[in-house]
């Protein structure tokens, strides 16, 4: 019965502690006295297939009912905010892109907007760069929502939707690869603009995507919306109303599923979102079902925005004209990702010493950012993604803090789960769409 690979059961001041490794549930049940110990405490995670990454939940159960729940985070803490302070401002994008790995473009954009606000160059960002940012953000929103749909479906027992969701997401990642050279963690949006122009082949692929995606959305709805198990598992589950959402700081699709049309793209527009024609989907259900409906509708709205952004793409510069800020290299996309273009290397190495000095200063030292602090918030796929950036006037960030919607939203999980069934903890947690890379940073 005892497996030497696992910790043995032991007596503690809190009662008997078991290490459950699967198949020995009988040991646990026989070890508790059903008369006096009605409540057992179950530790779920941090490695558990349905806790959305390394999230750990500690559940106090009475039968199958959750009486109390605490979530433990921090298993994916990588000190990104600290590391940022030792790199220059442009290098910061390569760090923030790794925070919430399902929405890298949003992290980069929030960071870049904050740096641009500190520099006071918001007005100098070219129209093409802004349009590309919007285009990429909305593609990223769709890919993030698709992962949500795929994983949530899987966690609730619908395996097919997992395959379909990841299939379409793969298509978007291919578009990202065509544009940026990388599928994830692209460091594509930089302070001052974007790193690379969108090639015509990518525009063509996005157009194809716009034709394909509505049909696929229909397929998802055919698979899930009328399905009794899906409706049973989602309707009336993990309810959180507007008051609770605002008190707990929950934003994004969860807040909109409770009925409040709060979307920063509409309420505090940035990147020219006020000029795009789209709606903010809401629902009055305030449950997992409502969040599913809102996210699917948001994919449709994102498709509308992408189409408008594509129509607006006019040739033009993608970086600010200020050569003291704009990254000096003209990057070229090779088979192994982005790299310096040979033309640029030939120029700085063979023709212009001033260009070499300029390149060297900007790449090794970076630009100086006037001292002060700003807070910039954008609407990420999970809610308000805020960047609080402080500069001391130097070439490195003095402090950058990300208001991560995953982190803030996870606080609401006990409010959703306590008093419900243990199976609904999974549905509720999944409906918050936490990404632990963003939560723990």
């Amino acid at each position: 019965m005892t497996n030497p690979s696992y910790a043995p059961e032991r007596e503690t001041s809190e009662g008997k502690v078991f290490t459950v490794t699967g198949g020995d549930w009988d040991t646990v049940v026989s070890g508790t006295d059903p008369v006096t110990d009605e409540r057992i405490i179950v530790n779920m995670g941090p490695q558990h297939p349905s806790t959305h990454g390394v999230l750990r939940l500690i559940l106090e159960l009475e039968g199958e009912t959750v009486r109390e729940m605490r979530s433990v985070v921090g298993y994916l803490h990588t000190g990104i905010e600290k590391s940022l302070e030792y790199r220059n401002w442009v290098q910061g994008t390569t760090f923030v892109t790794r925070m919430d790995y399902l929405s890298p473009i949003f992290n980069e954009t929030a960071y870049s907007l904050a740096v641009e606000k500190l520099l006071g160059i918001e007005d100098q960002i070219t129209e093409r760069a802004t349009t590309i940012r919007v285009l990429m953000m909305e593609l990223n929103r769709i890919s993030s929502h698709l992962v949500w749909l795929a994983t949530t479906g899987m966690e609730l027992g619908a395996i097919s939707i997992m395959l379909y969701g990841f299939r379409e997401r793969e298509y978007i990642l291919e578009i990202f690869e065509m544009v940026t050279g990388l599928r994830m963690n692209m460091a594509y949006v930089r302070p001052g603009g974007v790193a690379q122009d969108v090639p015509d082949s990518a525009v063509k692929k996005i157009r194809e995507f716009l034709i394909m995606m509505p049909k696929r959305l229909k397929e998802y709805e055919d698979l899930l919306s009328g399905q009794p198990i899906w409706t049973e598992r989602t309707q009336g589950v993990a309810v959180l109303d507007v008051t609770a959402c605002v008190a707990l700081g929950v934003t994004g699709p969860v807040l909109r599923s409770a009925g409040l049309p709060w979307d920063l793209r509409k309420t505090e527009p940035y990147c020219g979102y006020e000029t795009y024609d789209f709606d903010v989907p809401t629902s009055n259900d305030a449950d997992v079902w409502g969040r599913y409906q809102v996210r699917l509708a948001e994919i449709r709205e994102s498709l509308k925005i992408i189409e408008q952004a594509l129509d607006r793409l006019r040739p033009g510069p993608i970086m600010v004209a200020d050569k003291k800020i704009a990254w000096p290299a003209q990057l070229a996309l090779g088979v192994d990702g982005l790299g310096n273009s040979l033309e640029h290397v030939a120029k700085i190495m063979g023709q212009s010493m001033e260009s070499l000095i300029h390149h060297f200063k900007l790449v090794t030292e970076g630009f100086r950012v006037p001292p002060g602090q700003v807070y910039v918030a954008i609407e990420g796929p999970r809610g308000e993604l805020g960047a609080h950036a402080v500069s001391d006037g130097g070439t490195r960030p003095y402090r950058v803090h990300f208001r991560e919607p995953s982190f803030v939203n996870l606080q609401a999980l006990p409010a959703m789960a306590e008093g419900g069934l243990i199976a609904d903890v999974i549905a509720g947690g999944a409906s918050l769409d936490p990404v632990m890379g963003g939560c723990d940073r």
């Binding site: 985070v73 921090g74 803490h77 000190g79 905010e81 600290k82 590391s83 302070e85 030792y86 790199r87 606000k117 500190l118 520099l119 006071g120 605002v246 008190a247 707990l248 700081g249 929950v250 934003t251 409040l260 309420t267 505090e268 003291k324 000095i357 300029h358 200063k361 900007l362 090794t364 030292e365 970076g366 100086r368 950012v369 006037p370 001292p371 002060g372 602090q373 700003v374 807070y375 918030a377 308000e384 805020g386 609080h388 402080v390 500069s391 001391d392 006037g393 130097g394 070439t395 490195r396 003095y398 402090r399 803090h401 208001r403 982190f407 803030v408 996870l410 606080q411 723990d440 940073r441």
Partner: protein
């Protein structure tokens, strides 16, 4: 707002000069210059043989660089810029704060808060308007009352506390640990930043959890990273770092850590020991 170049500010220049003229090998213990600084325990108790170069990169927004790392490794003085590259004008935010009118909706917010919270004059330290953002510096012990007024008053209605984060202004401010609360009014679509400052000897700030429940984890994170103790918080424990961790990683005197990496025969030092241009 005072906007000057650092080189034209005599006080600033003198300070910079004084710090630059020290011998470079004093870098072993730079923070001891200031008896107020909590340098007795660098890294909050984690044993480090010396404060690493770069651990205190740069200086805070309001005062000139004070750290050894801020001087860089090239022995330069002034901006050191011979290329015209650092041509950006360095703005200096007036330490005294901004004078009225603040512009935009900021005057309206201030007046409404003044009306809703009678003791505002002695609770507020200064008002700063910079880059289109309003920052109200509040005395730490009054933050909960001010936050409550901000949330409840009809003409303020800051229902959402978007973000709570800490900043360590080591070397510029005796009360070096700052907490910034970013409040959002969904009704009026406005944002305001409240800021409080405390020293490291007595880093106590009342918790705003009772006003904004969402501050719970965010205050825990700020405690975890900066060691700011939020009085009245329901369960102030570490959240991102392990429970038995010593020290507060986001403080500026806490080393980054890291090991040198060897690549094709060359050794690349960890990030905080690389050459610094600041």
């Amino acid at each position: 707002m005072v906007t000057t170049s650092p080189d034209k500010d005599p006080v600033t220049d003198a300070k910079q000069h004084a710090q630059r003229s020290e011998p470079a090998n004093e870098s072993a213990n730079p923070t001891n210059q200031d008896p107020q600084a909590p340098s007795a325990k660098p890294g909050g108790g984690v044993p480090v043989q010396a404060t690493p170069v770069g651990a205190t990169t740069g200086a805070p927004a309001e005062l000139p660089p004070s750290s050894v790392a801020g001087r860089g490794m090239f022995g330069i003085s002034g901006s050191g810029d011979t290329s015209g590259f650092g041509g950006l004008v360095r703005r200096r935010i007036g330490v005294g704060g901004t004078e009225r009118p603040y512009g935009g909706y900021f005057d309206e917010v201030y007046d409404a808060l003044d009306e809703a919270f009678p003791g505002l004059d002695e609770a507020i330290e200064k008002v700063i308007v910079d880059r289109g953002e309003l920052t109200l510096h509040i005395k730490a012990e009054r933050i909960v009352e001010v936050a409550k007024a901000m949330r409840d008053d009809e003409s303020l209605r800051f229902e959402l506390c978007s973000s709570v984060s800490g900043v360590d202004y080591l070397g510029s401010d005796e009360r070096r640990l700052h907490v910034a609360y970013h409040l959002t009014s969904m009704t009026y679509r406005r944002r305001v930043r409240l800021e409080v400052a405390v020293g490291t000897e007595n880093p106590h700030v009342p918790s705003v959890c009772s006003v904004y429940p969402t501050a719970d984890w965010q205050e825990r994170e700020t405690y975890d990273m900066f060691g700011i103790i939020f009085d009245g918080h329901p369960a102030l424990t570490r959240i991102l770092m392990p429970d038995d961790w010593e020290g507060y990683p986001q403080r500026k005197d806490y080393p980054l850590g890291g090991v040198p990496v060897e690549y094709k025969g060359a050794e690349i030092p960890p990030p905080d020991r690389r050459r610094s241009y600041q």
